[in-house]
Amino acid sequence: MNKRLTIDQLQSKANDIRQDIIRMLGAAGSGHTAGSLDLADILAALYFDIMKIDPSNPDWSDRDIFLLSNGHTVPVQYAAMAEAGFFDKEELMTLRKLGSRLQGHPERTKLPGLENTSGPLGSGLSQAAGYAYSLQYMDNNKHRFVYTIMGDGELDEGNVWEAAMFAGKYKLSQLIAFIDRNNIQIDGNTEDVMPLGDLAAKWRSFGWHVFEIDGHNIQSIIDTVNMAKAITNRPCMIIAYTIPGKGVDFMEYDYKWHGVAPNSEQTETALQELKASSDSEDTK
């Protein structure tokens, strides 16, 4: 990114990403809507402001690393990548279709710019920690950062807490993780299915620096990451409070949209709403 986008422009990107997500999922007929929508602001901030990346050279050796650990929300990553120019936006409509590079869950070998393969939950933080360990202890590289996003339901997985201990022990300061705290998982609300309790205290006790932010406030996302980068003696966890289905009124807060795609009528309704909010932002 040569020219820095304004917060308004980043919000507009997030809205474009949300519209892409609805179109893709509508065309695919299956997929995970709620989490994809609620991550649009974080992904817009990462792909269009925070991360050092070059869409024309996905393997650029000096790039920052992004690992989506809750791989079922990959429509938001595909949309952000297409908006950023990693590939043509038309390809988004191939999501989940035979022969597509846009697999139902992200696959590293299929699409340049994807760093990892995920979907089975709980592994992304360890992979991010491995990468960050290499930068910090083996490569003597202090200027690249590794970002990862986990779902809150994902924290039920034991692998996550193995990684939490590992990153805490080694004070992996180039590791910046997000929890998408949208309070839903497939079977219902997270606190009913398996209570996560005081997440901030849990991560602090493992040696992490913890931030809690509004995951839809792009200014706050950017400022928080800048603070996280300045913390050089521990890994950082950004607990981002989000609204599942964010941006589409009839999807918001409803866990039933975790693993469902909109039908054609719902797709139209959702797109109209997103376009309307985009227009109202433009006239502000």
């Binding site: 290499s134 083996m138 990684a163 201990m165």
Partner: protein, 331 residues
């Protein structure tokens, strides 16, 4: 045919015994000297998996993960993303026993060069009992696309195999045992990934072994020779990719096949050879190993005897098999 020099002391009391993992430890250190991208991880078993030698030589390239096998292999995946060649060591019962899905998703599906080192496999871990006797790992790893599966027969071969997988740029599984086992190969014996070796030529039956069982097959062949049965011994250190050519040629020549492994025969070497023969050259086959049951506590020697996996027991079973089974495909 490949020339395969055998240890001249093979059947003497002087035969050198060494744990297979000792060869791995030397090989890993040598691999680290040859390539500074080689790194090692261990889940609280640095001494017993013999990663200690590497750790001492390259402390900055060693990562302790604690008792966390899921984290062990996923951190390894991250290190490989960052350009490393990662050796992740643990007990086979837990890695790949506990972290199979992580190995599949974060390593094998991506075709990344993480080396899973499963130590203390088989019944030869002895008194620890069934929980620690990993018998299903060959089957588990063999069904995983992209994965290379190697079961060295002795410590010398383990050293060569370790150096080979450090350079193959593929996800690889190396299976090792705890106990001292007789060294049947020599420094000059060949080792190449994907190649099986004829250790002894014969025409009545093919004895195909992997890992520690190859030595027992050599012992069985010697006993059988005294009974007028001329057995061919085929050593198969690479389970995947399988050396189809050597196996089919030997089966074609002898018309009877016996497989032996310190593992479940279902899906293991016995499974692999049976699949190949079933498709290409249906041949009577006797599969020796664990017959759909778990192990139990005992000394390694007692357990090999109890499960009929010593040279003497194998010779008896092969003699019966040869007597009862006509030879197929004789030219």
């Amino acid at each position: 045919m490949n020339e395969y020099p055998l240890n001249p002391d093979l059947f003497s009391d002087k035969v050198k015994m060494e744990p297979i993992r000792a060869g791995f430890g030397r090989g890993l250190k040598a691999a680290g000297e040859a390539d500074d991208k080689v790194v090692a991880l261990c889940a609280d078993l640095t001494e017993s998996t013999q990663v200690e030698l590497f750790r001492q030589a390259f402390p900055d390239r060693f990562v302790e993960t604690g008792i966390s096998e899921q984290n062990l292999v996923t951190v390894a995946s991250g290190l490989v993303m960052a350009g490393k060649v990662a050796f992740a060591s643990g007990y086979a019962a837990f890695s790949p026993g506990r972290n199979w899905e992580q190995i599949k998703t974060t390593i094998a599906l991506n075709d990344q060069p993480v080396k899973i080192i499963g130590s203390h496999a088989g019944i030869s871990v002895g008194p620890d009992g069934a929980t620690h006797q990993m018998l299903e790992d060959i089957a588990l790893m063999r069904v995983m696309p992209n994965m290379i599966v190697i079961v060295p027969g002795d410590s010398i071969e383990a050293e060569k195999a370790t150096l080979a997988i450090a350079k193959n740029n593929k996800p690889s599984y190396l299976r090792m045992c705890r106990e001292k086992t007789p060294i049947f190969s020599t420094d000059k014996s060949p080792f190449e990934i994907g190649v099986a070796y004829i250790l002894r030529e014969g025409h009545d039956v093919s004895l195909m072994g992997t890992g520690t069982m190859t030595y027992q097959l050599l012992a069985a062949a010697r006993i059988l020779a005294g009974q007028g049965i001329n057995a061919e011994v085929v050593h198969i250190p690479t389970i995947k990719p399988l050396d189809r050519e050597i196996i089919l040629a030997s089966a074609h020549k002898t018309g009877r096949v016996v497989t032996a492994e310190e593992a479940q025969i279902a899906g293991g070497l016995g499974g692999a050879v049976a699949e190949l023969l079933g498709e290409k050259l249906p041949t009577p086959i006797l599969r020796l190993g664990m017959q759909d049951r778990y192990g139990e506590s005992g000394t390694p020697a007692e357990l090999f005897d109890f499960f009929g996996l010593t040279g003497e027991h194998i010779a008896d079973k092969v003699a019966d098999f040869v007597r009862d089974t006509p030879q197929y495909h004789r030219d």
